[in-house]
Subunit: 401 residues, 2 copies
Amino acid sequence: MKFSSRIEACSLSPIRKFRPYVVAAETKGRKVLHLNIGQPDVETPAVFFDAVSTFREKVLEYAPSAGVESFVEAVREYYERLGISLTDDDILATYGGSEALQIIFSCILEEGDEVLVPEPYYPNYDTFVKVTGAVIKPVPTDPEKGYRFAAREQIEPCITERTRAILMTNPGNPTGVVLSREEMRTMAEIAMEHDLFLISDEVYRELVYDGQRMSSMLEFEDAAEHVVVVDSVSKRFSATGSRVGAIVSRNQELMGHAMKICQGRLCAATLDQMGAAAMYRSLSESYYAGIRAEYRRRRDTVVEGLRKIPGVQFRIPEGAFYLMVTLPVDDAEKLQYFLLEEFEDHGQTVMYAPGEGFYATPGKGRNEIRIAYVTNPEELRRAVELLGLGIAAYNAKRGAV
Amino acid sequence: MKFSSRIEACSLSPIRKFRPYVVAAETKGRKVLHLNIGQPDVETPAVFFDAVSTFREKVLEYAPSAGVESFVEAVREYYERLGISLTDDDILATYGGSEALQIIFSCILEEGDEVLVPEPYYPNYDTFVKVTGAVIKPVPTDPEKGYRFAAREQIEPCITERTRAILMTNPGNPTGVVLSREEMRTMAEIAMEHDLFLISDEVYRELVYDGQRMSSMLEFEDAAEHVVVVDSVSKRFSATGSRVGAIVSRNQELMGHAMKICQGRLCAATLDQMGAAAMYRSLSESYYAGIRAEYRRRRDTVVEGLRKIPGVQFRIPEGAFYLMVTLPVDDAEKLQYFLLEEFEDHGQTVMYAPGEGFYATPGKGRNEIRIAYVTNPEELRRAVELLGLGIAAYNAKRGAV
């Protein structure tokens, strides 16, 4: 049977290959602490479950293709509170941020087109772009300069006549970089001057630390035709299993095309949208301040632990709940196998996401890792400690060979 | 801004253009009865809502990318009861039948490829195929022969070297055709001989009348590499808003590729899958017999009404909850505008889906309509009566001009 060359070019999750080794370690009675997953242990607000369980219709009907009205309205009001004026036509409900990206790419990409993405980047972007026949062209960044990318001299050399869009995650996954107002302005200007879509994945919007304000590319109204925001309730409300997101853009031609796909797949799940609407309506700035404080505490725990490990390099992440760390080892994947197969301390070991999976450029990221700080501070403290012990044991063994 | 030529080739729902006319009719105080929609008024089983509202975890986490385990297991057991043996690896949970189709097409289609679909067909297939850059090649059928398609002399002349798959809906939307065992065998043999995927959309599986048995292309184990079944709880359990479906195939290479996309979009909604699992587990043949009897009653009501309208032609539908009817008018779209703008009987009028939207071949279906029999028999009886009165009034007016 013949398959599409596009799907042949896609990959399964790079982290999957470690799964048998995790199982083997656990079978030996070892506890594996996880710094590799994006599933927070923060509780989903009760208001979500209340809304879902008090649904009183006899038939669970299709939602409108553009979204349940109360959800679209709640999203509009949420942006209004951020000082961003939208109409309901600027919002389409999707199955999470993932479907938002799939729909946007289906509207703008075809065979041979290019999307610029600063690397390291969220690996699933690759799948979404490749199934259209287009490719991601990575915008190089420098770990030593904190992975910043929003500068003309970094972006513009990568633009070709096949470039259709720039895709960025702000706050950044996996880097934790948060763009300054000036950097956002630069990105808007590049998009306008080169007539590109600027797809801004802002699903971590609330998670900014150190007094930064929550922001959105939608603030730049002169770039309205270019800016497309990807949004989701997954991280904002710790409801990753609800799969409710949105495309937000004032480009009505884009939204008209996106609506064709939304109608084609009929609608996003009705009950989940109702639960999401209830969260947007009921939870205010005090809720966001609470989760922000919680993740900040977790970030600080990880940072404090990393500072005790000789030779690691990193910048303090400004947002989201990830950071990239350069390790004093030859190869972070080899270290991961060592940690799962040979290492243990008091019956425990640790897992992270090796850095190479976040790069499109071959060989890059080999001694980098991504840490997700989504579990409780006590577990995080121990996990980072195990990382330090593991690195020492690994390098001692290599030196001894 | 430049958009994909593929999305430019897609259309918004053809029924949308009537929306302003419906609003205008309703503003004049008229009641519009609907024969055009696929949203049944049959109650969603309470067990769905019970499962969803008794969810007791504190965090609504991502489901596994392949599906919530209890859902996959429940689907496997459901097929087991149909006499079809599957492993969990043969099942991937999706956002309804729609995403199942999107994923399958992303795995097998690229620019210029062709999918054979007997016409008339479900119009959203067009969107799913066109966004990949492929095209639907319609297999012609004859209204006077009841729209049957599963014969070598109809299918084989349409196969070219770019044909990758045959897509069929069985039981049929919009035709109500249910394939006989011999016809299913023919389709399996054609797929095997020409090395094509046979994508069988079986979301109406339970809705077969007149003593036919529920069946599936999965019964033909010798065609296992070719058969891909699209399934969904939407119609089976009258839960269209839950968006839970599945890809079911024993072709492990296909499932491996599909898993790349499933991992890319992370998972389908967790709670909805739990509700769906509960329905599969709790509801037995007596439930299916009940809904089958209910839809059969509705079908018979529509058939009885249509028989009273002079000049209409149709075959009694064998399955699903639709039928195509050839009307004694020049143009079913013009009649629809007339019904909404000029016609009324005791303040009521009627709406259906004009036939042209179900054909890829230009000009075909102009005097045909699709009727969905998803509302209660009383309303259906009156709606069909209005159709007859409307046809008479329309033709009288045209004769008088």
